[in-house]
């Protein structure tokens, strides 16, 4: 009889812990992060790949990025004062819990050179820090990629300006 009582007690504790952990996990997923704000994003090569297979590189400057949100419209802008005062590549973003995606157009003043688009995929380390990878699709043919476009990836880490992770 005592064994039975212990078994029931253990079962009740297990049930309570399980329910509690499900509850806290649900609460976490309901607290959605936001990219809105200013970020300094630092990128670096993956496996030493300094350029795309077709030889295109964006370099690895720190990028000053500002993300905004007005309702469902989530926009982004890169401040490239290092290149020119009016150089402002534009993009958009979306978020799903800790994961986010963003896409930008590359700024290509030389109409004869290659151009392309960037897709950022990442996650929040905390509210003020993000990390992930960037994929560049250049408008150069590459038969070795599934899309047929020259494709290059690199990694990034971003810190929110004024955030606690700086």
């Amino acid at each position: 009889m005592r064994k039975y009582t212990k078994l029931v007690a253990l079962g009740v504790i297990f049930f309570a812990v399980t329910i509690s952990s499900i509850g806290s996990s649900t609460a976490r997923s309901q607290t959605e992060r936001s990219l809105a704000g200013e970020w300094i994003v630092t990128s670096k090569p993956i496996n030493g790949q300094m350029a795309s297979p077709k030889g295109v590189s964006l370099g690895f400057p720190d990028r000053d990025m500002i993300f905004e949100q007005q309702g469902d419209l989530r926009t982004g802008i890169v401040l490239r004062e290092d290149v020119g005062a009016n150089v402002h590549p534009l993009g958009v973003w979306r978020i799903d819990g800790d994961l986010f995606s963003s896409t930008f157009q590359l700024w290509c003043p030389d109409s004869n050179g290659p151009c392309g688009s960037i897709v950022m995929r990442g996650n929040f380390v905390n509210d003020d820090k993000i990390r992930g990878t960037m994929t560049a699709f250049f408008n150069l043919n590459d038969d070795n990629t599934p899309t047929g476009y020259d494709t290059w990836t690199f990694s990034f880490v971003g810190n929110r300006v004024g955030g606690g992770s700086n």
Partner: protein, 157 residues
Amino acid sequence: MPRPGHSQKLVCALATVALLLTSASPAFAGKELAGRWVLRITIPEAPGSTVTRTFNVTLDVSPRGASLHGRANMTDEAGRTVGAAWRQTGKSVSITYELPCPGDGPCGTLILQGKVKDGGILIKKGSVIVMWDTINDRNPALYDTSTGTFRGDRISE
């Protein structure tokens, strides 16, 4: 101080230049991505799928002014509106946006590329790159990718 005859010639020359510029602008602007468009996009249903889906979106393009880039709003058939960014060199235009994902299917990022033709009212045989949210270490993009097609028709200025 120019003589009156010289001055008249100068005014005449300036007026001619102004006239040429005025008449040239609309022709150039006509090929610029502008106004409201319906884009008919065909992409795979999911990463690796051979089944495609075709859907329409309405693209409201904001003028880019002197910038190389512009913004736009993309509204799908369910009435969901998200932002988009575009650039254009000559007739070649590129539009990127994030699919509005209600959570009941695979999500991704779309890059649309095409040429603005017929005086700025048509994008025919455009191509689409889809970068899905599913990680794929064997793909050079590090995520699953697909390709698709699109056509654009301008419906109003």
